[in-house]
Amino acid sequence: MVLTVFDKVGAAVLKGTDTFGDFAVLAGRTFAAIFKRPFDIKNLLNQFQSVGVNSIPVVVLTSLAVSMVFAVQLAFGFKQFQAEGLASQVEGLAIMRELAPVITGLMLSGRIGSAMAAELGTMQVTEQIDALECLATDPVHYLFVPRLLASMLVVPLLTVVSVYVGFWGGYLILVGVEGQSAYVYGNEFYKLLAFRDLRIAIYKAFVFGMIIALVGCWKGYRTQGGAEGVGNAPTSSVVTSSLWILISDFFLTKLLLV
């Protein structure tokens, strides 16, 4: 009885280490391959298109919704002790520091991370990845690198978009509904923020972009077992990368705010 428990725990630890090691090795190979020739500009631009441009609507809509609901809550909360003026300051702080990068990261892990996992997973089970290998092309170089680069650039950019949209979401509620002065809102929104906060938000988004692309590609690359495997790859990529986005968000916040 005790032995089987030890057995199970041991097996789980070994499997976990194995999985993490595999991810680390592939991630390392991806970073090493960034500077290898040939540089595939066309492929990279395609990724920018599908990762970046096509994600704008999703990011705009979710940022708008979240910033609006957050403003409603803040207005309600601060009204309890007659401090409505603080709502716009806190709104700015929350959006810039947490909401914009995290919401963008989570939405994009669902939008692009899962697409990467599904695409690479299909390529794996239909032997297209083996075909790449046989054409003397490293799949890590050909498939991972453009996705990683696109994602590392696009997530920070979309985070900036999200901050901007968040400003207007708060504006709609606090100025439009709650009747605060537009001029005051415009000033107060940025009152508690320094340039450093934007920089931190962009660092975070950069790391989230890395997580999204690496986890998505890795899950796709390691797909096994036909249609069922291809079905599981995006799901597990979204779960894994969302988890790591939230965990790394905590540590990045702790680290960068000191």
């Binding site: 032997e127 297209q128 290998e133």
Partner: protein, 263 residues
Amino acid sequence: MALIDVVNLSKAFGPKVVLSNVNLQVQEGESLVVLGGSGTGKTVLLRNIMGLLTPDSGHVAVEGKIIAQLSREELFNVRQSIGMCFQMAALFDSMTVFENVAFGLRRHMKATEAEIGARVEECLTMVGMKGTDKLKPAELSGGMKRRVGFARAIALKPKILLFDEPTTGLDPVMTDVIGRVILDLKEELGVTTITITHDLKSAFEIADRIALLFRGECIACEKPSEFKVNPHPVIQQFLRGDADGPFLQDPPPPKRKIQEAHS
């Protein structure tokens, strides 16, 4: 020294032993045909030669280099001189036929677009697929995909070509065309080929030597003329294409023989 040297190769998936102690030598310029029942590990053999699978024991050496011991850089260098045609074609489905065939050329040759276009055209014409270059793989039939896969494998003019059932699913005329292309490549460029096929007619046409895989072992590897008269009961049954004999481990109970059913 043999160009491709398969030494004591064994490979198992879990408890299932697929290849045990296979030995094969292919000389430069030679054309080897590998026959064998469905599921006897012919594809697994090619994947080991390509380095897509690692042997459990034994090794594969191409041009004297042991595949499993190469670094990835060296492995890709060796692979540049090998063309492989997959059983399921494995075309890149996000690219057109043209881009598929041009893929290796674009990545490994410093050629102009015009030269690449000419070479792609030439390869597609060879397999009777001229004019399909703008189609996507999803718009092709199974046999057409296979022929595009064939064109992609030969586009870089590799020294070694590995064909995994290039003619399965093709009509008899197209099968003959592919057989002739393989012979032409051998005569003109001196390429070394390993072809897996279930088509005995083209096997005897293109083979310098024929190997038969049976239950994970290579039970014969000899000239077609000798192979034909090899008294081994498995070989004779395979050549006759008869359900009765030692070939199947547990043969399905035959309801009635074909001849009797027709008479």
